[in-house]
Amino acid sequence: MSNGANAPLVLSEATQARFAREVAKFPPDQRQSAVMACLAIVQQEQGWVSAQAEEAVAQYLGMPPIAVSEVTTFYNMYNQRPLGRFKLNVCTNLPCQLRNGQHALEHLCRKLGIEEGGTTADGLFTIQKSECLGACADAPVLLVNDRQMVSTMSDARLDDLVETLKASAR
């Protein structure tokens, strides 16, 4: 929850420059339009959107913190708590399910020894099921940390992906 008692996150100059680029897309009196992009930037840099980050975004855009919080909580992809270093969102909607989307989710969970929605003990992986990623013909598909989509994920490719991500974290 966002409240006035949270000291806002201090935004680095680099982060502010990224924010400014988003704000510039909109009319000067419509800075709020950049809130989704700013929150996505915060999440990319911090791994999640904390109440302190919401305060900072609110201050930067000149909007009430509760209005920022409404956005964070409405959209599925904002992390409202810290997650594993790699968030894997597996699409299990019907078109994917027809092509083993549910199986891919279960395979990952079994392999990593966690339940859907859970995070591995080493803090590396969080697995979530997700709604349509808009890549139905490439099923099974999953999204890595909101930004990279991987496609036609057979069990072998899933195993390979997990190893690749593990190796990059070493």
Partner: protein
């Protein structure tokens, strides 16, 4: 946080777009995944339509009225799902009104089954930019946004890159090609909300709010983004415009069938051998489309098809095999062409199982504004869930009918209808299967049925 190189896991487009099995492709023509840049697009004849209307091709140019008339004459209908005539929509814009007006592209492609706009934006982004610039000229709008599905973030970034190229080349800006025409276009990304594909939910989201749809009227053409006149079209709709300007509305109309002009991209997904996007002339038989996609997977028998994305009512194989793929034929058959997502299901699929996942989706994505949708979608899911798990009650099918019927038409936006229509379609064509589940506590398809739903899901009915 930087991500490692995952390119070996990523889609190449070879299977979904550059497979050489389109028929008369306009939007996907001559793409190979590497030729998405401005210079490649120009080499394919790109931006000639924009030059033509601005009189920068040596000709006399076109007035905005002429552009709208050409689009009207083409029979182009909205490719996002509703199929509303594009030229007519454009004519609703108060072009001469001296206020800021906006143009918005709806690339929030989240209708389950659909992945066509993704391939357009990834492999031919400039065709969308050109289409939007032409639309902006026709409607007197100087600012536009392309709202891109948050889940395809890499494509959002590519579109930003394409915008930079177009600005540098003078196809976007304050004085486009020295004509005095001004149009600034920006990219915007969502972050995971199906409801933002609904045009007024999208506008709320663009304003930096929860994507909860607005009452209509007023329609966006009078009260849109920031309360200003706004036109919203789908990605594929804009992508169709340059061809229409170059070749004429009549030529476009002739490609399809009356009232259903041009080509349409279909996303063939589910139980087919070669899932992917197929651009074909509107009005082609479904059987031909299925053939392009390699037929039903594993040579199995076709059972059912959802012809227009998850929200469209399902149709049994017998109807589908006689159906042509256009707006009017799909509507006449009791379904809709929708976004062009064709979800194919073979004989091993259980319709209760399929509906269960769809019902979960609508419950999850209901924005919560309207009681019939917020409560009704959950109710539908709980009922389908208990039927699937052998706990169906004798009255459940009637109750499903009743809840679906009472959601329809009683909500601010179409998500309520979208949740109800699959239920009604399933009960219309596969009622026996649901009744069997209720009576026998197990599936009619038999032990060979390929079950998809997770087994151990707890639910409070």
């Amino acid at each position: 946080m930087n991500l490692p190189d995952l390119s070996k896991f990523q889609a190449s487009g070879r299977e979904t777009c550059f497979h050489g099995r389109h028929i008369g492709a306009q939007i996907y023509a001559d793409l190979d995944g590497t030729n998405w840049r401005l210079k490649d697009y120009e080499a394919r004849g790109g931006y000639t339509a924009l030059k033509k209307i601005l009189g920068k091709d040596g000709g006399s140019g076109m007035t905005p009225e002429q552009v709208v008339a050409e689009v009207k004459g083409s029979g182009l209908r909205g490719r996002g799902g509703a199929g509303f005539p594009t030229g007519l929509k454009w004519s609703f814009m108060p072009r001469a009104l001296p206020v800021q007006k906006y143009l918005v592209c709806n690339s929030d492609e989240g209708e389950p089954g659909t992945c066509k706009d993704r391939d357009i934006l990834a492999y031919n982004p400039h065709i969308v930019i050109e289409g939007m610039a032409i639309a902006a000229y026709a409607m007197g709008t100087s600012v536009g946004y392309n709202y891109i599905h948050g889940e395809i973030f890499e494509i959002y970034e590519r579109f930003e890159e394409a915008l930079c190229e177009a600005r540098e080349a003078g196809y976007l800006g304050d004085d486009i090609l020295g004509s005095g025409f001004k149009f600034q276009l920006h990219a915007f990304h969502g972050f995971g909300a199906y409801i933002c594909g609904e045009e007024t939910g999208l506008l709320e989201s663009l304003e930096g709010k929860k994507g909860q749809p607005r009452f209509k009227p007023p329609f966006p053409a009078s009260f849109g983004l920031y309360g200003k006149p706004t036109t919203i079209n789908n990605t594929e709709t804009f992508a169709a415009v340059p061809w229409i300007i170059n070749h004429g509305g009549d030529a476009y109309l002739k490609i399809g069938k009356p009232n259903n002009g041009g080509t349409k991209i279909f996303s063939m997904v589910g139980d087919v051998e070669l899932p992917g996007n197929y651009e074909i002339p509107m009005g082609l038989p479904f059987s031909k489309l299925l053939e392009l996609a390699g037929g039903v997977k594993g040579g199995r028998k076709l059972k059912a098809v959802i012809p227009g994305g998850a929200s469209a009512p399902v149709l049994p194989a017998s109807i589908m095999m006689d159906l042509t793929m256009d707006y009017d034929a799909c509507a006449k058959a009791g379904s809709m062409l929708g976004s062009g997502a064709v979800i194919v299901m073979d004989e091993t699929r259980c319709m209760v199982d399929a509906l269960l996942r769809l019902s979960y989706f609508y419950m999850h994505e209901s924005c919560g504004q309207c009681t019939p949708c917020r409560e009704g979608t959950g109710w539908l899911w709980r009922m389908v869930h208990r039927i699937e798990h052998g706990q169906g009650r004798p009255n459940d099918l009637k109750l499903l009918d009743s809840v679906a019927e009472n959601i329809m038409g009683r909500t601010i936006c179409a998500l309520g209808d979208a949740a109800a229509m699959p239920v009604r379609g399933m009960l219309k064509h596969f009622r026996d299967e649901f009744a069997y589940h209720v009576e026998h506590k197990h599936c009619m398809v038999g032990p060979g049925a390929s079950r998809m739903a997770p087994r151990a899901e707890a639910v409070t009915a």
